[in-house]
Every structure is written in C-alpha cells, then in structure tokens.
Subunit: 205 residues, 2 copies
Amino acid sequence: MTGLRARQKADRNRRILDAAAALFRDVGYDSARIEDIAERAEISVGTFYNYYENKGDILLATVSMEVEEVLAAGRAIVETPPASVMGALDALIGVYYDHSLYYLSKEMWRTAMAIAIQQPESPFSKRYTELDGRLCEQVSTLILKLKGKGVVAIDIDAEAVGEMFFNNLNTMFTEFAKREPMTLDDLKARVSRQNRPLATLIAAR
Amino acid sequence: MTGLRARQKADRNRRILDAAAALFRDVGYDSARIEDIAERAEISVGTFYNYYENKGDILLATVSMEVEEVLAAGRAIVETPPASVMGALDALIGVYYDHSLYYLSKEMWRTAMAIAIQQPESPFSKRYTELDGRLCEQVSTLILKLKGKGVVAIDIDAEAVGEMFFNNLNTMFTEFAKREPMTLDDLKARVSRQNRPLATLIAAR
DNA sequence: CTTAAAAAATGAATTCATTCAATCTTTTTT
DNA sequence: AAAAAAGATTGAATGAATTCATTTTTTAAG
C-alpha cells in the first residue's frame, strides 16, 4: 500500500490541477489569482509553490494534457491516412486544429505558447515542448507512411519534409491565436495553400 | 520651428529608449526595473507609462529596431541573389540569423517573441508583427525573383513557397532561442536540411 | 510507544509592475 | 500680459506573484 504522504501528495496535486483548470476556464489566466487557486484546492499559497514552480507552470500542465489528446487523435489519421498527400495532410492538420480550440481559448493558447518560449526550463515547459516534438514526429511519420504506400516519391527526405509541414502549421497556429477575428476555416485555407506546392511536388509520378 | 513640447517629448522618448536598451543589455530584461529605467532616463515612473504601455512594450520597441536592420540587410541579397535556390536561401537566411544575435541575447529574443504572442494588441507588438510580415514577404520576393531569372519553375506559387520557407526559418529560430546550447551553425544546418527538398523540387528543369 | 529526523505546509513579508489623483508646464485665448 | 484650457509629469498607493523562516505532520529509529 502507498504511504500516507504519497497519497496526500497525489491528492493535493489533483486538487490544484482541477482548481486551476476550472478557474482558467471561468475567468481566464490573468484574472485567476494563485490565492484563488489555493483556496479552491484547500491548500495555502505556499503549498501551491511546492507543487508548481510558478503560475505559468500550471497553465502549461493543463495545456499539456490537451496536447496529449491531440496527439492521440492524430494517431488515428497516421494509421489509416487518405490516399493523397494533400488529403492526408489536410486530415491530420484538421484534427490538430479542431481539437485545439475545444477546451482552450485563443487567449490561453497565446499565454501557454508565450510561457513555453520565455521559460523553457520550467518542468512543464519542457513537457509541452516535448509534446510539440512528438507532434512534429507524427507529421514526419505520416509522410513516411505515404512513402511506404507509394504515394510519395521514394527519394524524398520524409523527416525534413515532415518538419517543414509541421513548422508551417505551427507558426500559422500561432498567427491564428494572435488574431482574434481569424477563423479556423481561414487558418485551414491558408495552410492548405502553403502546403500545396510541396505536397504536389513530393507525390510519386 | 517645432514647439517646445514636441521637442521635450522626442527628447524624453529617446532617453527612455536608450536607458532601457542599455539596462536590458547590462542586466537582462527581468532584472531591469521600471524604476531603474526611469532613473537613468531622468524621468519619473509615471512618465514612463505615458510613453510606453508597459514593460514589454519598450522591449519590443528596441527589438523592432533590430528587425528593421535585418530587413535592410536582407534587401541586398534579394537584389542580387546567388544563382541557385539553395544558395539564395542559405544566403538570405544566413543574413537574418547572423544579424539577429549581434545586439540581442537569446533571452531577450525569447522575451520579445513571448510578449509579441501574449499581448498582440500593444503598439509595439503590432509593429514587431508587421516587421515579421515584411520578412516573410522578403522571402517570397526572393522566390519570385528567382522565378524571373528562370531558376525556379514558372508554375510555382512563389508566395506560398516563400511563406513556407519563412515559417520554417521562423519556428527554427524560436527553437534556437529556447535551447541555450544550440549554436548558429547547428541552426543553419538543420534549416538547410529542411529546406533542401522543397528548394530542389521547385528548381526549373 | 517515544523521540529524532525528514518532508511539507503555512502565511506574513517582499518585490515589482502598474494606476491615478494631484500638481506643474506649456499653449491658446482674450 | 493675464487667465483659462490642455497636456504632461509625478510619486505614493494598489495589487498580485513569489519567497522563506516557522510550524506542523509524517516517517523512521530505538
């Protein structure tokens, strides 16, 4: 049986995470005070800092859970991709983008991305960055799979191409989060246009 | 002749900008307190806020001047580009990357990028974002120029391709700023590899 | 079962960015 | 040139994140 201490720790951790996620959802990141999170989680402010390095860290913890779901959803596409390069890319990217806004607002994404850049060494920044790397790999894996199926030419550097597609969809998502009026459809259309040249050229003839 | 008020204003603005740039360089962004900037600029804290919306805004003001220089340096390459796609891209990107670290540390770049994402509506965030857009255009212009010279195939969507190259170099620069041990050469090598497939495929045969 | 050591929790104190009502300076009007 | 209006400056007050010396709780040792 787990020691009392370990059980209490896991318990408090969950309470903090739940309290923070709920508050961020309700009032947004900036208006959520550590004091409020602590109160909801029934701990003191000091204790909060025993569990998370700073306020940004707990936002990245909640956002990371979200990214894990996106990653899982992407696996389905990579397993059985549409039979054309553009089709497969649009499908995978569509999954990413559609999932992204389900729980998190643009404001929360902006804050999360900003923190991950600014404090890359904090524990949950590392986790977030690592998940980003996995998403990138996933795109490369998709290209590799298409190569295996003879959809993509054999002499193509799948990893390089995958990274390029990923970096593009990633930058464009940041752009999207920055512009409040930009819609998901706007985003997808722009990314599609950007992807088309490379997608067309790597197709096996 | 300019009114006294206008002259004083320009004067104070310059003093603030100089004081901030010097402090950021000396002690880094986080350790530079508004009170210190105000003291060096011989104004009060309150006055600082009449000139800049917040602390992040003045960092972006200094970084924007830097980006303007990069943009100007890039023009030279676009005017007379090397005769191959990879050569031209490497040259332009080399100019961007080499300039970037001349005045600003990775930490300052990280902070600047983070602020531009988090508060996209502040005056100097808009300016910074606009300059980013110009850099992106510059890459597209380069591709267009290569098309004019018959180096790039005629049926290529130069704007889309340029955006893809730019978004890639941009994301990779962010990655570079996040990893303290990563060198400029590491960065250039990785970007080169990523660019190669698209660069090769768009070449006119 | 007591006691000592280790681990966690606590909240008052500190530190800074930011605000704003009061004051001062410049410009415009009469 | 005096008075009124407009524009700027000022620094003390506010509010929130983060720190840290103390206290409390849990575990391990005797």
